[in-house]
Subunit: 257 residues, 4 copies
Amino acid sequence: MANSKYEYVKKFEVDDKLPPHNWIVLRIDGCHFHRFSADHMFEKPNDENALNLMNICAVTMLEHFPDIVFAYGVTFILKETTEFYQRRASKILSLGVSYFTSVYVMKWKDFFPHKELREPPPFDGLKVICCYPRAKIVRDYLAWRQVDCHINNQYNTCFWMLVKSGKTEREAQESLKGTLAKDKNELLFQQFSVNYDKLPAMFRKGSCVYVDKVEETVKLDDSGNPVKRVRKKVTVGHFDIIGPKFWNEHPYILEEE
Amino acid sequence: MANSKYEYVKKFEVDDKLPPHNWIVLRIDGCHFHRFSADHMFEKPNDENALNLMNICAVTMLEHFPDIVFAYGVTFILKETTEFYQRRASKILSLGVSYFTSVYVMKWKDFFPHKELREPPPFDGLKVICCYPRAKIVRDYLAWRQVDCHINNQYNTCFWMLVKSGKTEREAQESLKGTLAKDKNELLFQQFSVNYDKLPAMFRKGSCVYVDKVEETVKLDDSGNPVKRVRKKVTVGHFDIIGPKFWNEHPYILEEE
Amino acid sequence: MANSKYEYVKKFEVDDKLPPHNWIVLRIDGCHFHRFSADHMFEKPNDENALNLMNICAVTMLEHFPDIVFAYGVTFILKETTEFYQRRASKILSLGVSYFTSVYVMKWKDFFPHKELREPPPFDGLKVICCYPRAKIVRDYLAWRQVDCHINNQYNTCFWMLVKSGKTEREAQESLKGTLAKDKNELLFQQFSVNYDKLPAMFRKGSCVYVDKVEETVKLDDSGNPVKRVRKKVTVGHFDIIGPKFWNEHPYILEEE
Amino acid sequence: MANSKYEYVKKFEVDDKLPPHNWIVLRIDGCHFHRFSADHMFEKPNDENALNLMNICAVTMLEHFPDIVFAYGVTFILKETTEFYQRRASKILSLGVSYFTSVYVMKWKDFFPHKELREPPPFDGLKVICCYPRAKIVRDYLAWRQVDCHINNQYNTCFWMLVKSGKTEREAQESLKGTLAKDKNELLFQQFSVNYDKLPAMFRKGSCVYVDKVEETVKLDDSGNPVKRVRKKVTVGHFDIIGPKFWNEHPYILEEE
């Protein structure tokens, strides 16, 4: 039976190849994540298990897709020269989101052994696929995300401290309205004896996942000198990525061709 | 801390709204599904449990996303006038794929209680998002898929019959080379006493999922006459969707505005 | 000398094919046409020569590009099934705009024998290329343009009447603020004894260009009966295209496949 | 009269903004230029008047659109940071092509006082609009064009010499088949005593148009020292743009932000 009569429908397919020589950013995000965290009673403002589950998903992504050179939270950077799926946006997006979701669901019980996953985690891509023409702009993108992380975390830390101390959510919101960064730090210190800068870096800085190059001694040679080799290892860290320090120490991550 | 210095990176976001008054087709597909089925020892040529798991996922999709009016296998049709996520392709794609994947992983154990899910199911969107300007063309698209299903199933049925009867995969392939539909039916009948047309419709026709409108008697009124109402029910069926019969009986599914 | 070293730059080309089975609308427009008309002292509110020049350009377009089935002013409709330049948006756009511009400049002197063309006419495509999935929507698009033409022309007629009668442009603007269609007709009639409906149809309705099918007698046959044939002729008219009459009389123009 | 009923048609408009921080290349080209040159009896292989007309058009483009930083032949480079028409591809394309065409038609008689322009010049955009993420790639693009110009010109020079010396076009084609660059130079020298490298640079190198910064003495100051200023001047040249020399001398042309 010939299929040709209907095959014209294939002509509606759209070529969605991303332009060459651009870094590809895939940002998975949760559209109704607030409700999902409430339903699963995540701790506020930060649930360490939930964050570690996310990080394991990110690590698995880097291990599975070698062209991902960096992840910050749920934002993944594919290297400028990747030819993964011929750079087709919809393939990269759907494969990445599907894989991430699978790992999240499959590893849930490792991080929440006593909590059942009650509904599908609502991952979609908030600002799904973007192309950035230069490493410098990718760094600005990541800085933008980390500034955002900081602002949100500082606010949420204050908010939940106030709520846990007896305020209603509305009252907490009111008392934070218009406050600056230093006001919030002051509030934490004065009212709750919390030094914001001493809170875990994972909360304040977010999580970076990347391939680290670790030099290790394999054996000693015949003259007794150490024989070294560079081993690649997917690593999670909670660094400042706004300043140049991290990037200077890991120049190979965003190296332009 | 002002974020404005980095906010220019948002300008790289692309508007990917799909054109109005077009039917949207989302086709989820498995890129390395052969390996996945082998790893999980799915029955050949058709694993009933695996198909039923797929169908439950499709049913859940229609229940969760009310703008999906029809599914054929893993192809989903969104109604022409949907404003779901402002018709943004990447949102529809990522949310659909993520939800489908989650349900697949979460329901796995209901269908394979004695088989562990060993790796993420490899769903990506093969021909991810297409726009079809008329209901007529959507029907041609679905016909194209059903013809394809038929051709593949007939071939696979023969192939695995031959293999199970002692041929190598290579020999099976050789003996099917160049055969027509009627040759294959003849082969099944002569060598294996199998009447292809009597095989389960789910294998031959694939699975359609849609909202059926069922009329039911709620009670009798004071005069003893039945009071009826139309109830909507997500339904799975294995019909011919190439001819007009199904569509004539369910005109509301692909109704143009 | 091999060129291959640089040929990678071709990979940056983008596929911009318009989707099949959609009507293509090319709308050429003048971005700074006000200044251009002032510089060339076009008559206000309508310069008949300028309009006729535009119409000749549109006629030439239909003669030169057989897939253009209809023009309204400077809006051109390409038939749903056109394969002109493989439906590549940028080719259709640039070729159409270039051809239109050339004809405008080359024919200028036929319509303005005593006026020199002092600067390039500023044609660009205001809402350049659109795809419309159904003939019904193309008709709505054209209706939208004709309503717009009517509203603008009525306003401009009043405005220039007032200005020519001694008001400043500002005063004219003020006295028209907030007036409805019937107020404007009343104003024209009361103050200037002008019956708006008697003004030339070209001003009120705009110009339609299309291929008319004219039946004509070629000769008499041996029995003395007329032998007729249908001749195609690019025709300019100033009809109402909002109602169904014109379309009912010319069903072949927007016929869907 | 309300227009709102039809205004939904505007929703079909597509956002075609080009991504930020990319150099924009607009390449106008002639789709049937061979026929056009034959019809107007341009000299072979190069018609100096026709080339000079093209160059004047390019100069006028740079004067009119200040964001064009460089032209090579009919390829125009818009600076990386241009916000011209909000970087909308269709606007840049249609406005550029329309302006170029107008100038070509209007200036025709200055270059061909005794030849009538018989038909619209067939300009369309062959590879219309491309985005290049780095100055380095723009240079490779231009190098690619200049290599192409060289190969074509060398071939055409040989071809027309042979034809003018009595060969048929077919014979000329045959005798050039498979020849290398040095064979062609040899042929020109042996058979026609032509030293290819002595032919006009405009033929061999093509034409570059750019804004040159010329230092000039305005006056002498009170102490008798020259007061200088930098004057910008649109300039045509026929340089090598494959090597670094020109770019080192004019670093401001492709300066990245």
